[in-house]
């Protein structure tokens, strides 16, 4: 009996702790959903309820109809998609050069690039603001894309170089004997064989660009060019008590993130675990 009983107790303890933790993680999200479904009159009701008295989609229609919300959603989507595509391309090219091509000062150049992983991003905000101002990249969505691609470059190049080095050299050598140049090899062999790596880069950069706040907050002043994080933060500071609408907008902003993550979580978790990427 002893061993079996011990095993049972252990299992029970494991599940209880896991469920307790799941509750702590989930309750704030649940509360956000419930609040977004409450009519404004109940936002400050006492006691606060974790189950809405009456369900109303009022907050959604009002928040989404307000302040060009649809445009902000499209802005965020455009910026995130463009930043992701360009990051994959540019960092794959860099990574291929560092993994396979021969050129002078290769190692020092690589370490120089890795510097970008060690610099706290917010410390770059001031000089980036000045440079972007001079280049006319403030208040523009392409300006956001350029910065987002650059901020992700070091980490993603590092990650992809690892993937590229794992591709057997024989394949590339065989292709070379058949007369393929570096461009063909890159396009036809290296890229197709490193899909899992690109998936990690894609998810990571998409989430980063979708959620990014500090840079967009200083770079975008024009109302029509806001992305969702700044739009939501500004909305809250202008309508201090309308939490239902704040959370309705937040949930709409959260849906693509959860969708992307749930679809690709296998790749994502593996990539994070392998590379130490900070999600």
């Amino acid at each position: 009996m002893g061993k079996k009983r011990q095993r049972f107790l252990r299992q029970a303890l494991t599940y209880s702790l896991l469920l307790l933790g799941a509750g702590l993680v989930f309750v704030p999200f649940w509360y956000m959903v419930v609040t977004s479904l409450k009519p404004q009159a109940y936002i400050f009701e006492i006691p606060p309820r974790l189950w809405p008295r009456e369900i109303s989609l009022d907050n959604y229609t009002r928040a989404l109809g307000k302040d060009l919300f649809g445009l902000y959603f499209l802005n965020s989507l455009g910026v995130a998609v463009a930043s992701t595509g360009l990051t994959v391309l540019v960092s794959a090219m860099l990574a291929y050069a560092f993994a396979r091509l021969k050129f002078p000062a290769k190692d020092p150049l690589f370490y120089f690039l890795l510097l970008g992983m060690m610099i706290p991003p917010v410390m770059l905000i001031i000089p980036q603001f000045i440079v972007a101002k001079q280049l006319g990249l403030l208040d523009s969505l392409p300006g956001l894309v350029v910065i987002y691609v650059t901020m992700n470059l070091s980490m993603q190049t590092f990650l992809l170089r690892g993937f590229f080095e794992g591709i057997p050299r024989d394949l590339e050598e065989a292709a070379m004997i058949d007369g393929a140049g570096p461009l063909t090899i890159f396009w036809r062999i290296v890229l197709p064989l490193s899909r899992p790596g690109q998936a990690v880069v894609t998810i990571f950069t998409f989430l980063y660009s979708w959620d990014e706040f500090p840079w967009a907050h200083v770079a975008i002043k024009e109302t029509t060019r806001r992305t969702l994080p700044i739009a939501i933060a500004l909305f809250q500071s202008q309508h201090l008590t309308e939490w239902g609408q704040v959370f309705a907008a937040s949930i709409v902003a959260l849906v693509p993130v959860v969708a992307v993550f749930t679809l690709f979580q296998r790749y994502f978790i593996r990539g994070i675990a392998a590379s130490g990427l900070k999600g």
Partner: protein, 300 residues
Amino acid sequence: MSPRAARSAAQPLFTVLFLLPGLLLFITFIAGPLLYSFRISFFDWKIVNPALSDWVGLENYNRALNDPIFLRAALNTLVYALITVPGQIALGLVVAVLLNQDIRAKAFFRVLYYLPVITSWVIVSLLFEYMFSGQAGLVNYLLRDVLHLISKNILWLADPILAFVPIHMLGIWKGVGWTAVILLAGLQAVPQTLHEAAEVDGAGPAQQFFHITLPLLRPTLVFLVVVLTIGSLNAYISNLLITNGGDPLDQTHFILTLMYEATFGRLDFGYGSAISYLLTAFVFTISVVQLRLLRREVDF
């Protein structure tokens, strides 16, 4: 020219083509700006007309180090790191050990625990602000009416110390999922044979954990301590949104909210740059010290 020779002649061209876009971006928007802001930190910088900026030497650094608001912000940031880094690691370790067992619905728990990590800082900061609101916040309700620990509502955000309760809790809550995933990868790398051998020798689960698992996890833990510390010293959004960056009375700043206010609120770019360099120096020193202290070979 033979095809092979043509190819090797073409290779330098390809190399340049592949390196150029990335390196150009990196130099223009990271390496260049880094040096540029170092220069700015020695000036009373005029953003409208930089040519009129006055060289002030170390004055900006001096000002920061003698400014009680900066020193308070530095202390606040340090305390945030001292609380949230161990908090994330301890809870992350518990979650990782639990998830490393033979359980059902593993993927479900993994996704759920990771949810706060992928949610934007803006959203979760506003959410915690709402839950800790003084009038009818969920937290006050739980403490007063459910647990009966307090007799009247606490005005969390009006107090320069209590305002950090939601900020610290948010920092831990948002980070545990990531920490757990990294630790889980570390745990899975521990060879099962070691545990089997220990079992044969009569070691219980606790003994196995402290004598096998923890020592083998050491590199992962070192990595986490360093990365999480860097992250926490750069905390910014939660503070900006929950305390409006500094409320009440500039007592609750983090280093970066102060930098932000000096630069983009008062347009004092020189002072802001000096603050960001002080922070970087601080981050760098702490990382080096941590690596020195923690990185010892694992002997077994």
